[in-house]
């Protein structure tokens, strides 16, 4: 009974943040709801594997990331970034003024909408880094890429996000006229 109460407390503390994580990482609300339940079932099964010397939330996000990524891979979502084209990412120095202009006064909702249009891996990488605050090692492990490529994956994802924001802005402007 005590363990059930503790379990309920743990769920109450973390369910919302895991649901939000799933909501950002997966394509639909229904998927996110189901995934949240499944993640907590997994957490309950694997709780004995948790290393208490590490932060609990990091471990929780790791389980969630693995589950969501498996889910997306099982659905044969296009692998948007293969190792080959990671090598070909151009090293350039963008115009800081243009970048500032692009991101200035963007609402969270606009960014989330743009994020929803990204390929699965890019979106997952951004969520793992900027929502879950996972380290580069953990991201590499979750996404199955070499650690050296994590930065490239993130930068590519940011470029795609900028394109999506631009498209969204253009569509909105066209709708307004």
């Amino acid at each position: 009974m005590g363990s059930n109460e503790a379990w309920g407390e743990l769920y109450r503390l973390h369910a919302a943040q895991i649901f939000r994580f799933c909501r950002r990482a997966l394509p639909s609300r229904e998927d996110a709801e189901d995934a949240t339940m499944e993640i907590f079932l997994k957490v309950r099964e694997k709780l004995h594997q948790y290393d208490a010397s590490r932060p609990f939330t990091a471990w929780l996000y790791k389980v969630a990331a693995n589950h969501c990524w498996d889910l997306l891979r099982r659905r044969r979502v296009r692998q948007d970034l293969e190792t080959a084209d990671v090598d070909e990412l151009p090293l350039e120095h963008p115009d800081p003024g243009q970048l500032e202009q692009l991101i200035v006064e963007r609402s969270g909702q606009e960014v989330r909408r743009a994020l929803g249009r990204l390929p699965a891996r890019s979106r997952m990488a951004l969520v793992l880094r900027y929502y879950s605050d996972l380290s580069y090692d953990e991201i590499a492990d979750s996404l199955g890429v070499r650690r050296a490529f994590v930065g490239v994956v993130l930068l590519r994802a940011r470029h795609q996000l900028r394109d999506a924001l631009l498209e969204g802005g253009a569509a909105r402007a066209a709708g307004a006229t």
């Binding site: 369910a15 709801e33 120095h93 609402s107 929502y131 580069y136």
Partner: protein, 538 residues
């Protein structure tokens, strides 16, 4: 130092640069406004991202407000296993064993049901010769599956080399001797009167086949029409719209056809699945006959037992063994003769001519229209049916909880679900039969048909959960969903017993449930496509 690239700036901001490189960059940025501006913009972008992602824009949905409870289900498992064991025992003693006995009486000794199912019985004789073709198809499929499984973990070219090497190795193994003569997809095939094929003959996708000559082996036919005027020394296995057997068959006759006409002698047993079947006066069956037909006229001679599931049947023949018939209507004409027992089961009494020669008084069972509510057996069967549905639902729920909820949600969208359901219910069997006609599509066709049958049965489970949730409100957790499912199935099973309304309840449930499954699958493929193509899904 020239301007720093964006990648290095990002790694610097994220604390991923090695210390000497970070110090170098830091020094450079102090004197370079351009790079400082880039760092500033990237940092701002990071803040924007973090802000957008952590923003609490949605509350936790009520459905998942309570933690999932896994420990609450052992009772369900115990009940399920108990019911499953009881169901299996009843199935075996009530259906399979009597069937085996009947089949044995009908001339199928030595061919028990299991071997029949496992392709070793007489019904499947002849498939062995197609093994070479099937092996290649199976091997190719296995290769593709292995490749796709290993693709993620190995480097692609290594995988291709290993899998293709293995496939080539197996293909290079010496083929089995005694392959059959196989003809593919001809408009017409005629084996002339004087021609002899000293082997099995397999005609696949041939529109019209005519055998006037001799086949010294089995004849296997998939096509539109088959006419056998000559002599087949082995079995005939045929899938055809029209099948006429005027010649002599020394083996068994196994036919799936719209119309079957038999005018010649068949030395062994006959198994028929047909809309119309007619055994003319000159026909002779050396063994027993088993028929599943819409209507059948049985003339000539059947030397051993006759077992029939025929909507409308007319018996004019001599039957050397027992007759066991289940029909809606049956006529036994004056020239019919039955040497063994005559057993009939149906809704109305058969019309038996007084001149018909029956060795013993006929045993006639008239079906009761109403279920026998007073009998404990009725309630036992009801409990078993409920248990079977419940166990099935439990297995689906525990194996695929996400998909399960999706189907239940989709079923509640009546309009699209009913439309999709009706379409799926009728279109899939038709497409599967079309696929079966071409041998390449045979596996696809049979696979689709099997999935369709599973979907047909599972429809009741999904609709029952929806019904349970409508009555008790949405569930939170595994135990709640299972409880709602149990209640929903109970209500459904009771509703289908209602006179007049029952059949509509069944049909409506099947259509709605199948629609839910189709919609859920459609949504899944759409969301995958959406994710792959990039349009907004949030």
């Amino acid at each position: 130092m020239s301007h720093v690239d964006e990648m290095t700036c990002l790694l610097y901001l994220e604390g991923q640069l090695e210390r000497p490189r970070a110090l170098e960059l830091s020094a450079h940025v102090e004197g370079c406004g351009e790079c400082r501006a880039l760092l500033h913009a990237l940092e701002r972008e990071s803040r924007l991202l973090v802000g957008a992602l952590v923003e609490e824009d949605e509350a936790l949905p009520a459905r998942i407000a309570a933690p999932p409870a896994r420990g609450a289900t052992p009772w369900a498992w115990i009940v399920s296993f108990g019911l499953a064991a009881a169901g299996a025992y009843t199935l075996w003693t009530g259906i399979i064993e009597p069937w085996q006995q009947q089949m044995s009486q009908a001339g199928f000794e030595g061919t028990n049901l299991l071997t029949l199912v496992l392709f070793r019985g007489a019904l499947w004789k002849g498939w062995g010769d197609m093994l070479n073709l099937l092996q290649v198809v199976a091997l190719a499929t296995l290769g593709i599956v292995t490749f796709s499984l290993l693709r993620r973990s190995w480097r692609r070219w290594t995988t291709i080399a290993v899998v293709m090497g293995a496939v080539a190795g197996v293909l290079l193994l010496p083929p089995q001797a005694g392959a059959a003569e196989i003809r593919h997809k001809a408009e017409a095939y005629v084996l002339a009167k004087d021609e002899v094929i000293k082997n099995d003959l397999i005609l696949l996708g041939t529109a019209n086949g005519r055998i006037d000559g001799t086949v010294e082996g089995d004849l296997i036919f998939f096509g539109r029409s088959l006419e056998v005027n000559g002599h087949v020394t082995g079995d005939i296995i045929g899938f055809a719209q029209l099948c006429e057997i005027n010649g002599t068959v020394d083996g068994n006759l196994r036919i799936v056809a719209n119309t079957l006409l038999v005018r010649g002698p068949v030395s062994k047993n006959v198994t028929v699945f047909a809309e119309h079947a007619s055994f003319k006066d000159k026909s002779q069956v050396g063994g027993g006959a088993m028929l599943f037909a819409g209507d059948a006229t049985l003339g000539g001679r059947i030397n051993r037992d006759l077992l029939g599931f025929i909507k409308s049947s007319t018996l004019e023949s001599y039957v050397g063994g027992d007759v066991s018939m289940r029909s809606t209507r049956m006529t036994v004409s004056s020239n019919a003769e039955v040497a063994g027992k005559f057993t009939y089961r149906g809704p109305v009494r058969p019309d038996i001519s007084p001149q018909a020669k029956l060795a013993s008084p006929p045993e006639i069972h008239i079906d009761q229209r109403r279920p026998e509510y007073a009998s404990p057996r009725f309630y036992w069967h009801f409990a078993l049916q409920w248990g079977a549905g419940f166990i099935f639902g439990l297995v689906v729920f525990l194996l695929m909880p996400g998909f399960f909820h999706e189907v239940v949600r989709s079923s509640s969208r009546y309009g699209p679900a009913l439309g999709f359901g009706a379409l799926t219910l009728f279109a899939i069997p038709i497409l599967a039969v079309i696929a079966c006609i071409t041998i390449v599509g045979l596996a696809v066709g049979i696979g689709a048909l099997l999935l369709w049958i599973v979907a047909l049965y599972s429809a009741q489970v999904f609709v029952s959960v929806w019904l349970g949730e409508t009555l008790l409100g949405p569930s939170s957790g595994t135990g709640g969903t299972i409880g709602r499912m149990a209640l929903g199935i109970l209500i459904y099973k009771v509703a289908r017993l209602l006179p007049y309304i029952g059949p509509f309840v069944v049909l409506g449930t099947i259509i709605l449930g199948m629609g839910g499954i189709a919609l859920a699958l459609y949504n899944r493929t759409r969301s995958q496509t959406a994710m792959a193509a990039g349009p907004a899904a949030a």
